[in-house]
Assembly symmetry: C2
Homo-oligomer: 324 residues x 2
DNA sequence: AATCGGATTGAACATACGTGCAAGGAGCCC
DNA sequence: GGGCTCCTTGCACGTATGTTCAATCCGATT
């Protein structure tokens, strides 16, 4: 049984390691490294890319002491959470914004997730963006578990969600636990029945003991429609009911109001996402938000105490600390 | 009292931090960053240099699993120490060799040294080379303590040694404890008398409880003469006596033989360096060696169990694992 | 207020770097 | 063994980056 020690790959990685040493520790030029490795400069360039992509080289930004920016301090003081404000120029559009916040999260995630841990993962455009950029890190005995179902009337959702899950899994060398159910059941009774099944309850157990939850926010009633609302998951009537109930957002297809409350929202009874009382027991709950359209949703999630660590673009962060 | 929060510097560092985020976390080009920061591309280049030099950006090379190279494994198995083999082409001369090993050590040192620690520092060309390249890291309540005196018949040695010490001190924000004595006393009795002085014994106490010792090796009887032997520290007669006693090297001006023994070497009675029995109590003893001329000295130091962590250039490492 | 020295800036230049491309190899199937 | 694809390599090109230099700014000093 070969681990990742197949001779070809190992050769390449060994060279990449040496090249990384020479480049990052000894400040040699790629040309000089090429000579030492008896190859061409281009190959060295590629080796170094490989080293960075595979997480062989790890670049961290330190926050010596003063680091928390003014904004971060304000957010932390006001909401009792850890804040990471991602600098994005105000002129950027929402797509760039999401991409850049996601990239920052993807690069830093390895500092949170480690061996023997379990991480819960939502799905959606935010999670998708993150998954495409994660810097890999080898872990052992770790689990990635899907937080909520992704099926709808048209598809099982297995393709989209499992693509995301899979990227997380391979990046961390973790076991992946899929949750092959629809996002919402038609009948609450189906959910209750299924929840008693051993195969499902095993997964719910894992959610209950996860160390990290990672999720974006849905914002049903703002400019950009979240994936949940565009993808055929909800009927118009259901959507209207959410509005009537005063819903401002969702985490893993579980909805809440501006004050953070979620009681009496009918759709939650049929949702497959984790109940907030469960979610709040997770030690680290990382929320990733990009774009001011999610501001109301963010405020609600904060009011509901769903977040311990927030990644947010600069302009949304500024809006957040302004008077509500 | 201003810490490092003087407004000008803080502005610069804040920009550097942002630039580092944008460059290393979001893969923007310097041009794009310049626009966001309303400055020129050159300034961004300088900001990023600044960020790297000040340790604001930390680049680490991971050793995922297989990392210990063959050579490192061999050394570790044979001598029960941790080995870091620095890749240096065989064609490099001894000066390059030292420079490159020192650079690697300087970059990685921050991973060993932290707040509330005490590190003992030798002096010499190796330590000098390292000191010129250390990547800074802010620590609190930490100490840098000089291991052995640096004075000789000509100078107090304060200039040279304290320059080295000082660079370590400022790089880590640590208190610096100099040791203003000659490298060797003329009369052992002077040493004993001085060693009872409270000012000196306070420093010896600190040496006794240090967490890390960092030193190069002296090799009196090989091609390149160590600083100790060229700088007027020893008279010819003393030098000859070392040869007669079978000495192969020294650590912080304390000498040893090929088998690691140090008993009965007269000069050690007059040396100001730490007794090996004291040194061996230090949990981490980092030795930096470059150049095959130090091979015999290295073998002796290993036999004397003076080393827990070894940094060595590739070709010397190869020579080390060959049959003695 | 004038002058000086040192630090900072952007333009221009010289390198260093990333990447598309065609050529060469290594496996694999026929 | 020939021919196929897929992967890797080095070259060449265009772009990105580091660095020098003259101009400018800033603060301190006279």
């Amino acid at each position: 049984m070969t681990f990742d020690t197949d001779p070809a790959q190992s050769d390449r990685s060994r060279d990449a390691l040496t090249a990384a040493h020479l480049y990052y520790m000894q400040d040699l030029t790629m040309d000089a490294i090429a000579q030492e490795l008896h190859t061409s400069r281009s190959s060295v360039s590629r080796l170094l890319s490989h080293a960075r992509e595979t997480g062989l080289v790890d670049i961290q930004i330190k926050s010596p002491l003063d680091a928390p920016s003014h904004l971060e301090q304000q957010i932390e003081a006001r909401f009792q959470i850890t804040a990471h404000v991602v600098p994005v120029p105000d002129s950027a559009n929402d797509v760039d914004r999401l991409e850049r916040v996601a990239l920052s999260v993807a690069r830093i995630l390895g500092q949170y997730f480690d061996s023997n841990m379990t991480m819960g993962i939502a799905w959606g455009s935010t999670m998708n963006a993150i998954s495409r950029h994660i810097t890999p890190k080898q872990t052992h005995n770790s689990q990635i578990v899907q937080l909520n179902g992704a099926g709808n009337m048209r598809t099982t959702g297995l393709g989209y969600a499992s693509e995301i899950l899979g990227r997380f899994g391979t990046a961390f060398g973790a076991h992946v636990q899929q949750f092959p159910v629809p996002a919402f059941f038609d009948d609450p009774a189906t959910k209750q029945a299924l929840w008693r099944e051993r195969s499902v309850s095993r997964l719910l157990e894992m959610q209950a003991i996860m160390d990290i939850a990672l999720f974006g926010l849905g914002s049903p009633f703002s400019g950009v429609v979240s994936r949940v609302y565009a993808g055929g998951y909800l009927e118009q009537a259901e959507f209207d009911a959410l509005g009537a109930a005063g819903v401002v957002g969702d985490v893993a297809t579980v909805f809440y109001r501006a004050d953070g409350s979620a009681d009496g929202i009918a759709l939650n009874e049929r949702s497959t996402g984790p109940d907030f009382t469960v979610l709040r027991r997770t030690p680290r709950r990382i929320c990733v938000v990009a774009g001011r359209s999610k501001l109301a949703s963010l405020r609600g999630a904060l009011a509901a105490s769903l977040i311990t660590d927030l990644f947010v673009d600069e302009s949304t962060a500024r809006a957040l600390v302004e008077a509500p």
